[in-house]
């Protein structure tokens, strides 16, 4: 089981870094924001796996915070910048 938790966590980290390509490429600000939203979910999954593997319940609280606060940056984006801000 240990091997599996770590393996899946490693795989998800690779996934997250691959998704960064979308942030780099855009093209619109909304695309970049969306991609970073996906990273939040991936980080939650990684944290939960590590919490189980290393028997550290506090990591579930970190995951809980990420889940709770994932919306704040995105709402700030929608309310302050909007998606027309840059189109290439």
């Amino acid at each position: 089981m240990d091997m599996l938790y770590l393996g899946v966590a490693f795989f998800l980290l690779l996934n997250l870094l691959a998704g960064l390509w979308r942030v780099l490429r855009g093209p619109s600000a909304a695309d970049r924001m969306l991609a970073s939203q996906l990273f939040g979910t991936t980080a939650v999954a990684i944290l939960l796996l590590l919490a189980e593997r290393f028997a550290t319940p506090a990591l579930r609280d970190v995951a809980l915070l990420f889940a709770l606060l994932a919306a704040v940056t995105a709402v700030a984006f929608v309310r302050r910048i909007g998606s027309s801000h840059e189109r290439q």
Binding site: M1, L4, Y5, V8, F11, L12, N15, A18, G19, W21, R22, S28, A30, D31, M33, L34, A35, Q37, L38, G40, T41, T42, V44, A45, L48, L49, E52, P57, R60, A63, L64, A67, L68, A70, A71, A74, V75, F77, V78, G82, S83, S84, R87
Partner: protein, 99 residues
């Protein structure tokens, strides 16, 4: 390994496949609106399967409750944010992709 362990393994691996699908969608789909699908693959199903797999291994019901709360929050935030971004983009005139 017991039966629930095998079930956990299956759920975690299926969950990882959905995360992969989400990333592939994010990278390969042609426009913003189709890319929104990527978010739902990973959020709704991928994380849900992972949480089911981890809940089978959880030491107490409190942990299961916390895991489900996290899933619910991610669903809520994912759905809400996806709607806000998409409707914002639509209002600003980002046209949906047509074949």
């Amino acid at each position: 390994m017991s039966a629930s362990d095998y079930l956990s393994v299956a759920l975690l691996i299926t969950g990882a496949v959905f995360f992969l699908a989400g990333t592939v969608g994010l990278l390969r789909f042609p426009d913003l609106y189709t890319r929104l699908h990527a978010l739902t693959k990973a959020d709704n199903v991928g994380l849900g399967l992972m949480i089911a797999g981890l809940a089978l291994q959880a030491e107490s019901w409190a942990v299961v409750g916390k895991l489900l709360l996290i899933w619910g929050l991610v669903l809520l935030a994912g759905a809400g944010v996806a709607h806000l971004i998409a409707s914002g983009a639509l209002k600003q005139g980002v046209r949906p992709w047509k074949k």
